[in-house]
Symmetry: C2
Subunit: 174 residues, 2 copies
């Protein structure tokens, strides 16, 4: 199976010194790479039995939207606070220092609906775990998490241990 | 031709009292509506002769990514300041009060490359005009602008008069 890592460039010292950023813009630039990533995510989403895709702001929108189009599935979105215009519920989650929040429209997931969550990157898993909680608060079922990249040197397994997740590429050093 | 406006809900008093917000999340929720919008945008992009799609953060990512997948075109992104990890150029633009900025990677558009810019909404046209300037600063050619919604009570024609643009639905009152 072709290794997708060659489509993802890494940029040192971003967003701060000592951190290496894995940049998917080089994947998007290459239609072969982008479509290969989407095809692998598509297979996972089909196998998950998902009835809806939930994409996380903002790079998750890129993969989630193309998958919704390919699979003819409804697309919902999770955003930073104050961005969604309808009535929302909110989930707080911990960062290295302090906390952050994400929101979802309260009508975005139906009772019992099977949802797959899509983002570009699994880092600490904090945002993804918060998105799972939002789905569950609305009565939905998280049947999977699909991402392009996972940073294996970060402890996301613990935060996501209750869920099935899948990624296409892993990077193992900072 | 089916009227897409029925897929787009409007929410009063968002983001502030007296403003009506046209919300595309109800379009995304409906695969028939989402795919109909994408098919019309796809036709416009094909006719434009674009060699690349440039999507504007963050709802523009939703439409731009699905179009890039459908058309087998490279996808580049414009983001708010400080989000893109590589070397960027920046464009400032005016808001009702104050200014805002957007950025693009300096290697995101090649000299002479034909680019179509994709966003969900044309309001004042300020962000789109700034994105056009970024493309031109990098030596590219803006061959079109594709959006889902245009707010016809706002004066975007003036800001975008040098460009070809297309939208699928227009709303004519606040």
């Amino acid at each position: 199976m072709e290794d997708l890592s060659r489509y993802i460039r890494s940029i040192p010292d971003f967003p701060k010194p000592g951190v290496r950023f894995y940049d998917i813009t080089s994947l998007l630039e290459n239609p072969t790479g982008f479509k290969l990533a989407l095809s692998r995510m598509e297979q996972y989403v089909v196998n998950s039995g998902a009835e809806k895709i939930l994409a996380i702001e903002s790079r998750g929108f890129i993969f989630g939207a193309a998958l919704a189009d390919r699979l003819n599935l409804p697309l919902a979105i999770v955003r930073k606070p104050g961005k969604l215009p309808g009535k929302c519920i909110m989930q707080e989650y911990e960062l290295e220092y302090g906390t952050d929040r994400i929101e979802i429209h309260e009508d975005a997931v139906a009772e019992g609906q099977k949802v797959v969550i899509v983002d570009d990157l699994i880092a600490t898993g904090g945002t993804l775990a918060a998105a799972c909680k939002l789905v569950e608060k609305l009565g939905g079922e998280v049947v999977g998490i699909s991402a392009v990249v996972a940073l294996s040197f970060l402890p996301f397994e613990e935060k996501l241990e209750d869920y099935d997740y899948n990624y296409l590429v892993t990077f193992d050093s900072e």
